[in-house]
């Protein structure tokens, strides 16, 4: 089996390279290529545009800031542009292929409404890409945040089609999918649990982030393995021009980022740290029990980039974060670690490649102190080792071919618990480890046909192999273990193969509007055992097996895109329909932790979702922001759940509206606000009561037959900067913010309570987490 997979991989690669060579016969053409970077910091700009006036055509820089465009020799005007930066126009006469590295400067005067010269085309209209939203760190940083902690996941939750899993949670659901159907990548490394402190903060420190892109559908062939979305987060490379720093002192945490060149401009570094100090306040408490608690989290991001030559660059980036909680009774800690090593190589001006080796780990430990009868420690961890190759071949202005491969070895250790010390009465319980191999090869092409029509088509071939040692149980139709098979050594005992086609088309109706269509199939082979909405750090991931088939999603999207006022406003409406086969839910009262027979607690069926999403966005000028609205329906029908009847998916909120705005009054003052409204989440309520064992026991409705009260919230923030002075090295700002500004008591949960005094009486009670939460943050750069 291993041989077969490797052969297939190899054949695909050979085929790709062959086809590339075959198409390389365009002798008359020459190539301009190079990089586009920020002139102040040297950071590569991702998705910047190069527009050739004479050809009325262009391209964009890739994920590493590289672009390539082939044309016939001659005189051209090239326009380089990027949102928030001054355009650069170059008149060039080119006779032979050449490198043009461009540095764009940030717009000095953000206040003046940008004068659009008509040269920057509505790039969003032309791109064969839909259901994708890109955000840079600056946009994210402007959004008012809970306790002033800027959080990219919370920012994404303000987009139509992205719902928060529960109040304050950094889990999210995309178009009716489950949170474990989102692939979260930090410099290509999978982040398995993006939560700090029970999810109220995410693990991403905005100071270390360059750019974020979420694919809600139309997932490129280069990505796979999750059904609903890909969240691609890229870390900054570090300032190559000069040593600089960014930092902040906030209500609950402090941050410091240092970056700069190392020895020469060719090597840069960035190191970014954040730590909370909630526990420092606990020490002030008069209650000794509170005082003796330890509670904090920290993050550390670092990256080193080295430019070996114009053709070769290497990147090493890492993330390390941890949450720690400890008191005299118990302790718990959890966190992620990732390490990515990448090498960019240009085989030619038109063949760009990247090779990555990636390590990712998530682990947790929970326990009680030593030396007592109930002393125990429980640990769990999961590790991924991956290798990836990605090639981009800029064949000609009309065709861009991408192909590559990825291999990941998953090693899941779902948990082992044992007593500690001599006095403990606990024995040892070890859950069997799971090993598996996830492989994929892909190829895709973006093709322009004439000036208005373009296509994107691709195919991903994925294979998932269970690797021994393992014990696979056979279940009866009643989900009772009837037999087991033991695999030993490192046998590849079971493999699933899948073809995942991807197709997109864009037709430009006129200068200001276009229509787009897309079909995407994705497969998912590993999933999270979670039956609550927000989840906890105690994650148990499990892979497909002879008993569980991979989840498959087919999504069809159609959209209309229209820009207004010289591309100042970008508007879109998209309709989607998504069908998911082998959708997983858990049986009633499923046992998710320390359960060897967890497969017997799964129930498999179908899920489907459809909806309509509106988004209007303004990216430049004194006023920036967006308004998003979505209408969605998401259902599941699974044998063994809700009597086999259709029920509403747990994250579905039919109406969601968000208004996000930021306004700069002057160079010193700016105001930002966002308002969100959504239908309440689906919930199961009691419709009757039984008295059993002296307690009033609720008798429940069908699953998710009711809804929580509507959710809405306003957040505002106000930023004050000092009077601008030229040549000041140290700049700072004060950020005052209010989360939940009008104090809406949004229900986090609703419980049914039996009155203490009068046991016959029951009443409903809501729990809400947040009143008005003010915070002050001091940010600085030098």
């Amino acid at each position: 089996m291993k041989f077969l997979i490797n052969t297939v991989l190899l054949l695909c690669l050979i085929f790709c390279v062959r086809s590339v060579n075959a198409m390389d016969g365009d002798a008359g053409r020459i190539t301009i290529s190079g990089t586009i970077s920020d002139g102040k910091t040297g950071e590569m700009l991702l998705g910047a545009t190069i527009y050739v006036k004479e050809l009325a055509s262009g391209t964009t820089s890739n994920l590493y800031g590289f672009y390539s465009f082939s044309l016939e020799p001659g005189k051209y005007h090239l326009v380089y542009s990027f949102i928030g930066y001054e355009n650069i126009e170059r008149a060039v006469e080119i006779q032979k292929s050449q490198r043009i590295n461009i540095e764009l400067l940030p717009k000095a005067e953000m206040l003046e409404e940008v004068v659009i010269t008509g040269e920057r085309k509505g790039e969003n209209l032309i791109r064969t890409e839909m259901s994708v939203v890109k955000m840079d760190a600056r946009t994210i940083g402007r959004i008012p945040a809970l306790m002033g902690e800027v959080d990219l996941i919370k920012a994404l939750q303000l987009l139509p089609g992205v719902s928060m899993a529960s109040e304050g949670s950094s889990g999210f659901s995309v178009r009716g999918g489950a949170p474990d159907q989102n692939q979260i990548l930090l410099d290509e490394a999978s982040v398995y649990n993006a939560s700090h402190l029970m999810g109220f903060f995410s693990v991403f420190n905005n100071d270390a982030i360059k750019d974020v892109k979420i694919y809600k559908g139309d997932i490129p062939a280069a990505y796979g393995g999750r059904l609903s979305s890909v969240l691609d987060i890229r870390m900054k490379d570090g300032n190559s021009k000069q040593f600089s720093g960014t930092g902040g002192i906030g209500t609950i945490s402090s941050r410091l980022t240092l970056e700069g060149p190392l020895v020469s401009e060719n090597t840069t570094f960035i190191a970014s740290g954040r730590r909370t100090y909630a526990d420092l306040f606990l020490a002030l408490s008069s209650d000794e029990n509170v005082r003796n608690n330890t509670l904090y989290f920290y993050d550390f991001n670092t990256k080193i980039t080295h430019k070996i030559s114009d053709n070769d660059r290497v990147f090493i980036s890492g993330y390390f974060g941890r949450d720690v909680f400890k008191n005299k009774f118990a302790s718990m800690d959890f966190g992620n670690q990732t390490l990515t090593t990448r090498w960019n190589h240009l085989f030619s001006d038109r063949l760009f490649s990247n090779f990555s080796v990636i390590y990712s780990k998530y682990d947790y430990a929970i326990g009680t102190p030593d030396g007592q009868a109930n002393s125990f420690i429980w640990t769990s961890k999961m590790r991924d080792y991956s290798a990836k190759t990605d090639f981009t071949y800029f064949i000609n202005p009309d065709n861009t071919l991408k192909f590559g491969s990825s291999t990941t070895f998953h090693q899941f250790d779902p948990g082992s618990a044992k007593g500690t010390g001599d006095e403990s009465y606990f024995g040892e319980l070890i859950m069997p480890k799971q090993y598996s191999l996830e492989n994929a090869v892909y190829i895709s092409n973006e093709q322009k046909v004439g000036s208005r029509l373009s296509f994107k088509y691709g195919l991903r071939f994925s294979a998932f192999t269970n690797v021994a040692p393992a014990t696979i149980y056979t279940y009866s139709p009643q989900f009772i273990v009837s037999d087991s098979a033991v695999y030993t050594g490192s046998e590849f005992f079971h493999t699933y193969f899948a073809l995942e086609p991807r197709f997109g088309a864009t037709y430009q109706l006129d200068e200001v509007s276009s229509i787009k269509l897309n079909y995407t199939r994705t497969n998912q082979y590993i999933q999270l055992a979670q039956n609550s909405t927000a989840g906890t750090p105690l994650d148990v991931w499990f892979a497909v097996s002879p008993n569980i088939e991979p989840q498959v999603s087919d999504q069809l999207i159609g959209g209309y895109f229209r820009n207004f006022d010289h591309n100042t406003y970008e508007a879109s409406v998209e309709a989607y329909y998504k069908r998911m086969d082998n959708a997983i839910d858990f049986k009633d009262q499923a046992d998710l932790l320390f359960n060897k027979y967890i497969e017997g607690d799964l129930r498999i069926g179908n899920a489907w979702a459809y909806g309509l999403e509106f988004l209007i966005r303004k990216n430049e000028g004194a006023l920036t922001g967006w308004i998003g609205y979505s209408y969605s329906v998401a259902k599941r029908k699974i044998e063994g759940i809700n009597n086999g009847d259709t029920y509403t998916s747990p994250y579905n909120k039919p109406h969601e509206l968000s208004v996000v705005a930021s306004y700069e009054f002057s160079k010193r003052y700016s105001l930002a606000a966002n308002w969100v409204y959504s239908t309440g989440a689906p919930v199961t309520f009691p419709t009757g009561r039984a008295v059993i064992g002296g307690n009033v026991i609720p008798v429940y409705s069908d699953r998710n037959a009711y809804r929580m009260p509507d959710y809405h919230r306003l957040d505002v923030s106000f930023v004050v900067k000092p009077r601008p002075k030229p040549n000041r090295k140290f700049n700072y700002e004060w950020n005052f913010s209010l989360y939940n500004a009008y104090g809406r008591k949004n229900a986090w949960s609703i419980n049914f309570i039996q009155d203490e005094q009068n046991p016959e009486v029951t009443y409903a009670e809501k729990t809400y987490l947040f009143g008005i939460i003010p915070s002050i943050t001091f940010n600085f750069t030098f």
């Binding site: 029970m198 064992g693 409903a764 809501k766």
Partner: protein
């Protein structure tokens, strides 16, 4: 392992959560029979209670079901229980369950509920290990404080399931289902239990134990099914929140015919102590 407790602490340290009563419109539910039946290896009048469900906010006692014939069989002999008060049916005063036997219950209603008149249930009567001793520890310094009952006993090598109830001065202190703690021997199988915490009583809930009080632990050897049932019921009574547990569902016990409730047979073992304040080591 009190993992949930740990996480609750985490969650609540992080937040200042508040609660508030709210009004909700709920549909009227269905009506089902509710059975509560227990049989032990003690010689006494064992009770079977029959009632029905009511609408959730009805806020009055649930209707009892009278006039049914309730039959209990140990496989050889069958007895008819007598209705001592409306809906409460009892065995003779000297009736005693025998460990190792399988008991069955048969209920025939005078009037059908949800179109069913006949309900049946079965339960095996398990043994229980002898208790050596208990001691009760006061933890005054955590929240408003709680008491922990430590149990000393030899846990047999078999797979066992336990339920615990506590008597204070010979009165049942843990008198409702949500107070009946239960556990299985998954983590401790075959070990000597040198002070396993089996009952936790929060002062905040009104428990108060004074020096000199006699405390008796009733350890019960229950079936796996009843252990699961208790666990599910307690989860159902726990507050719901987005962190733990799936969506709530109705828990049907071992009564055939679509009734709620359970029929539980189990053995008991008692051990007593007189409470005195002792320092935690």
């Amino acid at each position: 392992m009190k993992i949930r407790t740990i996480i609750y602490i985490l969650a609540f340290l992080a937040l200042s959560s508040c609660t508030e009563k709210i009004d909700l419109e709920l549909n009227d539910g269905f009506i089902r029979l509710v059975v509560e039946a227990e049989l032990t290896n003690e010689a006494k009048a064992h009770e079977v209670r029959l009632s029905t469900t009511a609408s959730y906010f009805s806020n009055e006692p649930v209707p009892m079901v009278s006039g049914a014939s309730v039959l209990l069989s140990d496989g050889d002999d069958e007895i008819l229980l007598t209705e001592k008060s409306p809906g409460i049916y009892v065995t003779p005063n000297d009736y005693q369950g025998v460990p190792g036997r399988n008991y069955s219950l048969r209920i025939e209603l005078k009037e059908a509920i949800a179109n069913e008149t006949i309900y049946t249930a079965e339960s095996f009567l398990n043994t229980v290990t002898e208790s050596d001793s208990i001691w009760v520890e006061d933890h005054p310094d955590w929240g408003k404080g709680f008491y922990e009952v430590h149990w000393y006993a030899m846990e047999p090598p078999s797979t066992d399931f336990y339920m615990f109830r506590l008597f204070q001065n010979n009165v049942l202190l843990t008198d409702s289902l949500k107070e009946w703690s239960a556990f299985d021997d998954r983590f401790v199988n075959g070990n000597y239990l040198n002070g396993l915490g089996v009952v936790y009583l929060d002062r905040e809930l009104g428990y108060s134990i004074k020096p000199g009080d006699s405390l008796t632990l009733m350890a019960c050897g229950i079936t796996k099914d009843f252990r699961i049932y208790l666990d599910f019921m307690r989860r159902q009574l726990n507050n719901q929140n987005p962190l733990f547990g799936g969506p709530p569902t109705n828990v049907f016990g071992n009564i055939n015919g679509g009734a709620l409730g359970y029929f539980a047979a189990y053995s008991t073992s008692y051990v007593s102590t007189v409470y005195s304040i002792r320092k935690t080591n």
